[in-house]
Amino acid sequence: MEKAQDQMEKQQGCAKGTPDFFRKRRRTDLLFAACVLGLFVFSSALTGFSLADGISSIPRALVWMGQNLIPDEQALTRLPKVLSRLYETAMLSVAVTVLAAVLAFLFSLAGSKTTGRGRLFPRLVRIVAAFFRNVPDVVWSILLMFSFGQNILTGFFALFFTTFGLLTRAFIETVDEVSASCVEALTSTGASFFPIVFQGVIPSAMSGLMTWILYMIETNIRSSTLIGILTGTGIGYLFDLYYKRLEYPTASLVVLSIVVLVLLIETISNRVRRAIL
């Protein structure tokens, strides 16, 4: 009997000790939730967005898609044209990514802590990369439109600049992460900079670099659709054309072709990633 009472008291003691902790945690949780909710309500009011409209628009959109976004016979006659633009877009994103990756790798060697020289230069490289990464690709494409017009080079350079910025940051992180130990070891054998890079840094970082490159190719196909709409090139232009002419079945063929391409690239890159890790 006494024992039981003792235990009861003990439990109560524990219970007395814990609420403070729980109350504190619950309070921060509630505060966090309130902040998120407040931001949501504020943003909705400012932009005129209503969640109810948003949610109800989804089934309506699905119905509309079911009715209009089915390729018809007329759309299929345009398949060769769509495929030729799709090919152009795919090649564009591969070419952009490969060239940007080579340049970004050179910059990342200069910007990395392990391979960079001095303090000022790596910092400068990081600033340059941040600049190219953060200027939106739409700004680059509008800017390039002025001189290059409706040319594939407009899309090429617009994608190139942002890809370069993104990959430089990613590569610097990769090189920093993997190469410190082998750079030290190869330096101690008396090797000079380029042998160290080619025999040590590149083999160590390769799988990381490859993963980023494959990811960027996939991303660039989506981005080039956007840039195509703005600059009148590639697959984006074709979608915009049929969309504005209200030829939705053909526009849907364009969408489907993009989906197939992106999924294909995703599958390939997953396979490659599994093989090289």
Binding site: T47, A61, V63, P136, L143, F146, M210
Partner: protein, 292 residues
């Protein structure tokens, strides 16, 4: 230098028959030094394919007729105008700031919706929570959503729901959902296996496990991922304003550049966007550092 003369002679003097048999020859007949791992072969193969595709790309692009040197020169001139002579004429600073806020709000709304939906979808496709069939279906669904470029989602919703913030937010949300579902599911899969098993053994049901173990254990990672997505959504909201007329500062950039043809104006707006993005990036990096 006596010791150098000895060099590795001690080892070379060893009976070569003991190791000659272990050497392998390469195709050219010299002694092979590389390993024949699948990884090495794959990397080399992928590089060869990528380089060939790049060469092919440049060979088959339709460049049309363009004076490259002149175009490059004028591009440099324009870049100078944009970045070194920014100036507002059509917009007021306050007005531009307001539009920046709108873009921020579009980003916040789509991140919020994306996060809320992903919170539940991720439970359905994390290997340690859902059965594999459901997981495969959800993963496939999410992959298809992601394969459609954001701008196309916005435009599709613009037709069916009318142009405006609804189309923009829902269109932007779609990618957030699929991105965050993938990230959240990965965080859940990285949880310690024992935690969920222990709760299951004690007879807890699905939602008890979710509330008592899964969400508390992964909350910090999820917050970090969500902020990263917010960064991306802000940039995307800028792009949607420009390419799909979704409002916000992106639309002003588009008008300045393509309608008024005023590069000074575009430069000023670009600086505002860049500063906003860098601020977001700093906040997100700090949160990431705190979480890890």
């Amino acid at each position: 230098m006596m010791n150098e003369a000895a060099g590795n002679g001690v080892f070379l003097g060893m009976d070569p028959a003991r190791y000659l048999g272990k050497m392998e020859k390469s195709r050219k007949g010299s002694i092979r030094i590389k390993s024949k791992s699948r990884s090495n072969v794959t990397v080399r193969l992928v590089w060869i394919v990528l380089i060939l595709l790049t060469v092919l790309a440049f060979a088959t692009f339709r460049y049309k007729q363009i004076d490259l040197t002149e175009a490059v020169q004028s591009t440099f001139h324009n870049i100078g105008t944009v970045f070194f002579q920014p100036e507002l004429t059509y917009d007021t600073f306050g007005g531009a700031l307001y539009q920046l806020l709108i873009t921020f709000c579009l980003g916040a709304l789509s991140t919020g919706i994306g996060a809320a939906a992903a919170l539940f979808l991720s439970l359905l496709c994390a290997k340690n929570m859902a059965n594999s069939k459901v997981a495969a279906v959800v993963k496939g669904f999410v992959a298809v959503i992601r394969a459609v470029p954001t701008v196309l989602w916005v435009l599709i919703f613009a037709v069916s729901a009318g142009l405006g913030s609804v189309a923009a937010v829902i269109g932007l949300s779609f990618h957030s959902i699929s991105y965050l579902t993938k990230c959240y599911a990965e965080s859940i899969e990285e949880m310690e296996a024992g935690t969920i098993e222990a709760l299951k053994a004690s007879g807890a049901n699905f939602w008890q496990i979710v509330f008592q173990a899964v969400w508390p254990a992964t909350a910090s990672y999820m917050v970090a991922w969500t902020f990263m997505r917010f960064e991306i959504n802000f940039t995307n909201a800028v792009a949607m304003g420009a390419a799909a007329g979704a409002g916000g500062i992106g639309y002003n950039v588009f008008m300045a550049g393509s309608f008024y043809l005023d590069l000074h104006e575009m430069g000023f707006l670009t600086y505002m966007i860049v500063i906003a993005v860098i601020l977001l990036e700093t906040v997100s990096t700090k949160i990431k550092a705190k979480v890890k």
